[in-house]
Amino acid sequence: MWIFLRRRLLTSAISLVGVIIVVFFLARLTGSPANLYLPESATQEQIDEFNRLNGLDQPLLVQFWNFLVGAVRLDFGDSIWQRRPALDVALAAMPPTLTLAGIALGLSLVIAIIAGSIAAVYRFRFPDRAISVTTLTISSIPDFWFALVGILVFAVQLRLLPTSGYSTASAWILPTATVMLAPIGVLTQVVRGAMIDALGAGYVQNARARGFGTARLVARHALRNASLPIVSVAGDRAAGMVNGSIIVGSVFAFPGIGTVILGAVLNRDFAVIQASVFVVGVGVILVNIAVDAIYALIDPRVRVGAGKGK
């Protein structure tokens, strides 16, 4: 287990280094912060001066080297706009993001497990069809559209919820719902499929023969068996929620990492882009390792390492 973990951390670290290298050059392909930072009428001299002050006049490889030297010590440089360490900017955005992703994923899972199980039990019959069509329709709604319509309906028309913000509990409802749109369809389908397999398995049928009720059967036996694929898809979705939070951030003014990345990209705040991607990368790695750990917990037969390829 420890050897596996070490190996896992090592390969993940390689990926992470790769990511920040790619992001370093990708970000610099998008121009320079000088234009945006300086007034419209800035002269070339002012732009040059700005670049000199921020080390952007050096050859790209020198900049890259400086970046690497800093990154090794977890120093990604300062945000050009906020003048504080970029890593702080990125880290400050993580708690809201993680909370939102956690709540949204948890709720999606609960809904998916209930809906997927019902669909599996009544498969090919009306409840199954209704659940499939409903959850897939939900997942087919463009998230920004849902977010804006949600505000108009629930906040402006019905006055049930605040439009935006994140300091009150009710303000979290619309952002959470928005982030939940995409995963709910997939998760329900995965639960349904896994449950159908699990319900067909021999020992579950035995249990059924012994007179276990369907609900008990589903809850006690099938679900446990179906949990592997569910966990793995849920893990994948957790990583994908960062992208969803860009939309949520921009509509609801939700101060998550998505908002930070969007702002940093639009403002060419290279240090923040790099730090944010690093932080997200670490998050994704941790989620993946957690998924493997859950795998091992749920099913000791799964030899970690031989399991899910990453």
Partner: protein, 316 residues
């Protein structure tokens, strides 16, 4: 007991009626699933619309008439092309949708196809060969997965210019890892199968095994995932439009129509609702079809469609 080596001659199993070819079988199954039938009908209709109509209506679709700005729908006073109302510049919503259909389908289909082909090929190779090839390819996939698609989109659209082709590139690159993972996981499992060993025993080389043994087994899954991805790509393209880094006029796709109509959400619902509805319906159709394909491919669920007299369990 008489042992006759030819004893098996007469006992081909009852469903070995091989007259029904794959395509006909699929069609037959399709006719028995209303949701799949309606979904494929809708998608076919869209494809037909996308292929035939845009050249005919493009000029009219892009003609602005500010006197018809935000014309409400369901009125024939200004001609049938304004049946779905007009957008903020007085362009007929219906014709915009038709032109957008072509772009949206082109973008979604191309991005999905490119991503699927590349992800499929790399995933197969990665999973089959394993070892350092796999390590390297998977690390690259991880990198692609972690880079924010927004940054990638902005970089590509900044260096190149915004165009349909570049939008396709961006979307394709960001979706490759999906197929790569699926293909790799299957290849990893398939390469241990006895039929692969059997192929090796008759002398097949690695590439041949990849091509004839592994690829046909992975392809159905890729196809299923690809249908599912059509929906994701449509939504991703719309998201880019919303963030202002999607397509540019005069090109138009559904996502752009929704994004453009957002100032009028409260005052002129039709500007966003119609394209939004088309996105939802199309994504839903693709999703349902993908589900159905998966079920049709899965032997444990296939019974549903081919009504075998009995099911056999693999003897193991």
């Amino acid at each position: 007991m008489a042992i006759d080596s030819k004893g098996a001659r007469a006992v081909l199993l009852p469903d070995a009626t091989v007259s029904r070819t794959g395509a006909r079988l699929t069609l037959h199954r399709l006719l028995h699933s209303p949701s799949a039938l309606i979904s494929s009908g809708w998608l076919t209709l869209l494809v037909l619309v996308a292929v035939i109509l845009p050249p005919l209506v493009e000029t009219a679709a892009n003609r602005q008439d500010l006197s018809l700005r935000l014309l409400p729908p369901f009125s024939l006073d200004n001609g049938p092309m304004f049946i779905l109302g007009a957008d903020g510049l007085g362009r007929p919503e219906l014709l915009q949708l038709i032109v957008g259909t072509r772009t949206s389908l082109l973008v979604a289909a191309s991005a999905v196809a490119i991503a699927a082909v590349i992800g499929f090929a790399i995933g197969l190779i990665s999973g089959y060969f394993g070892g350092w090839v796999d390590e390297v390819l998977m690390r690259i996939a991880d990198i692609m997965h972690t880079i924010p698609s927004l940054l990638l989109a902005l970089a590509v659209l900044y260096v190149l210019q915004p165009s349909i082709a570049n939008l396709i590139i961006v979307l394709a690159i960001t979706r490759i890892p999906v197929y790569l993972r699926v293909a790799r996981a299957q290849a990893l499992e398939l390469r241990e199968r006895v039929f692969v060993e059997s192929s090796r025993a008759v002398g097949a080389g690695d590439w041949r095994i990849l091509r004839t043994d592994l690829a046909p087994m992975v392809l159905p899954t890729i196809r299923t995932v690809a249908m599912l991805e059509v929906a994701s790509v449509l939504l991703a393209a719309a998201g880019l439009s919303f963030l202002g880094i999607g397509l540019q006029r005069p090109d138009v796709d559904w996502g752009m129509m929704v994004a453009d109509g957002r100032p009028y959400l409260a005052t002129a619902w039709w500007v966003t609702v119609f394209p939004g509805l088309v996105i939802v319906l199309t994504a839903l159709a693709a999703n349902l079809l993908s589900n159905w394909l998966r079920a049709a491919e899965d032997p444990s669920q296939a019974a549903r469609f081919i009504r075998r007299p009995r099911m056999r369990k693999a003897a193991r």
